[in-house]
Each structure stands twice: as C-alpha cells, then as structure tokens.
C-alpha cells in the first residue's frame, strides 16, 4: 500500500480561475447604470454577490457583464439621486 507521502495531491486548481467562467449568460434581466443619478455610495459594489461591479480608485465603473447574473440586488439597494435610481433592470435581449 502507498504511504501518504506517495499519494498524488488532490484537485488543486489555479486560485481565482472562476474569473474566466462566464455566468453573464444566466441573465434574464440586465442592470443598466445611469451615471448622472449615481452618488458613488458603492452600496451596489458591497452587496453584489458576483463581484460584478467594477470600481477603480474608489469610483464605480461599468458593470462586469461577464459575471453579472442579473439578480437585481444592486438596483434594489441603489439610493440614487433625489429619488431617481442610478440602476434600472431591463429585460435581456430586448
């Protein structure tokens, strides 16, 4: 019988490789960012389950549509400006 030192190491995959995987195709609804209503609070970023809101130097950028699954959490949590949401959900492919 093999000792544990001879056993092959189990499934080791490259750290963070899921980044290459496209989950954007799951979307039924697509979030759209309306920049003029954005107050840069970054709630959308902290609440996104899929790390699909890009932020650079502390400022929100575009959606990462390769990973966004269209759950709509960001749109619900977005306070927007003067009652006007900075994120709206629209049916995909329309």
């Amino acid at each position: 019988m093999k000792g544990w030192r001879e056993l092959e190491i189990g499934a080791v995959t490259e750290a963070g490789s899921a980044d290459e995987y496209n989950t954007g195709s799951w979307r039924a609804f697509r979030p759209r960012w309306i920049e003029e209503n954005c107050i840069q609070c970054l709630f959308c970023w902290i609440y996104c389950p899929d790390s699909a809101i890009t932020v650079k130097d502390g400022k929100r950028g575009e959606f990462d549509y390769k990973h966004c699954k269209g759950c709509g959490i960001c749109a619900v949590e977005c306070p927007g400006k003067k009652g006007k949401k900075a994120i709206v959900m629209e049916e995909e492919g329309k």
Binding site: E14, D19, E20, Y21, R27, W45, Y47, P49, K69, G72
Partner: protein
Amino acid sequence: MSTTPLRLKELSKKEDLLTGGHRLCAGCGAPIAIRQIMLAADVPIVAANATGCLEVSTTIYPYSAWKIPWIHTAFENAAATISGVEAMYRALKRKGKISEEIKFIAFGGDGGTYDIGFQSLSGAMERGHDIVYVCYDNGAYMNTGIQRSSATPFGANTTTSPAGSVIPGKLQPRKNLTKIMAAHGIPYVAQTTPAHWRDLMTKVRKALEVKGPAFINILASCNRGWRTPTDRAIEDSKLAVETCFWPLYEYENGRLTINYKPKEKKPVVEFLKTQGRFKHLFSPENEHLLQHSQELVDREWEALLREEAMWKAEEEKEEQKD
C-alpha cells in the same frame, strides 16, 4: 499591520478574494457575506469549507473562485480540518520554519454547523484553537434541495417539513446556536448579516484579533429555499433584524452587547410575508402559528434584553465600588 478603514471607498481598493464566475444562484446571500469577510481581513487567510452550496458552487472543477489557500473538507468536519491546519502552523512557528502572521477560518452552512458538524465544532472550540468559525445560515440544507435543519425557522415549508394537510411546515423552533456557542465560554461570539456590512466587518476583525476560538453566525438569504425573488437578499436580512428575528449582538469574553435595537420593533410577519416558505402560515386557519412565531421571537429578544441589562447593572455596581 495597517488596517483599511471600514469605508467602502477605501475597501473597494482592495482585491476581491472571491472572484465572480462562481456558480452560486443569482442573488444568493452567501457570497455577499464571504466577500465582506475577505475584504474585512487585512491578514492572509487560510480557509476550510464544509460541503454545501458555498463549497460546491465556488469550486466546480477545474475552476475555483478563491484567491486564498482553501481546503474542501467533508460536510461534518470543517472545524476539525481548520484545527489541524492551525495546529500545524503553530508547530512550524515553534520550529522557526514560518514567521508570517496567518489567520484561519472555517466556513460551514447551517446543516454543516448546527447539525452534522456540531460535534467537531464544539470540540475545536473547547480545545481552544486560534480559529474563526463562520456559519452562513440559510435555514436549510439548500444544496441538496431544501431539507429542514435545526436552523430552519418554525413553520417553514421545506421538502422534509412540507406544509400541507398533515403538517403546517416545520413543527419545531430554531435551535439557538449563537447562544450555544457563547455557552462554550470562548473569547468571541457574534451574530450578524451582510446587509449590515459595517457590523459584519467589525465583527470579523474582532474575531480574527482575539487569541483563541471565535464564532460568527451570519444570516444568508437563499432565494431558492426562502421562495423569494432574486433581488431580496439584503432587504430580507434588514427585515430579519428590524423584527428581531435575527438580532445583531456579540459576546466579548462572555459579556453580551446588543449592537442594534430597532426604535420600533416590527412584527415578525413583516419578515415572514415576503417569503414563499411561510405562505401557508397566512391562511386564516393558521393564525395561531403566526402568533406562535411572534412569541418565539419575543421570548429570545426579551431574554437578550434582560441579559444585557444584567451586565449593565453588574458594571454599575462595580463602578460604584471603585
């Protein structure tokens, strides 16, 4: 070691250690909590992850969403696995083979924590390992199709507590695991939700900082099992706290602090009514079950308030003595 201020602008400059492209359902609460945990930590983390949705869906071969050393462990022994890793780390440190400060976290679902992994969790806590155990509680065995666990709330419809003509959903109340962990006398125990990101991150930092075992219980919405639209994870977590179904509190060396007291405690139906798993409770013949749900919440909340008041009275007595 510098610590990143708990401001979203500053935190957003850090690298996300859980990538997108994982295959948890759209709108799942678990990855929101995990991202926040990893962002809160300013030290390298090694994690063990019990079988469950989080583990399965973040590491579908040949992909992994984790950018940290991460071990898949069996359903029942995440706490034992991380204990072993931490013990090895201490041994290597003693021998001078490693000098870096590393912290160790185990992640488990409620099935893997309240039920099947409870023995290994209790043992690890009692042995005093310098680890943090995080339970993401979505209130059922979700990955295998919504079976009831001891974390499932009273009255919830699951595939093994099906609401119908025989039973009206789960007949038993939830087990209060956070209190049970506090009874282990470990240095840090807390309860939080990802909707309360600053509270969650503060608690993660405290848990990582204390010497010895820490336990954090995080409510993590599951839209498949809770029968909610995919955009509800944060709103339902807020309702859980506003109704005192899931109060935010912590035990620091045994001392209880309630971190948030709603100005007006909402009736628990506010939390229940948005979720399909409780829909049957709203039919007229089940009104007494809704009442019972409220009683269960009130009983635990009032016990917490009394306990905190007792601590305050003790401290006042001590101060008067000085």
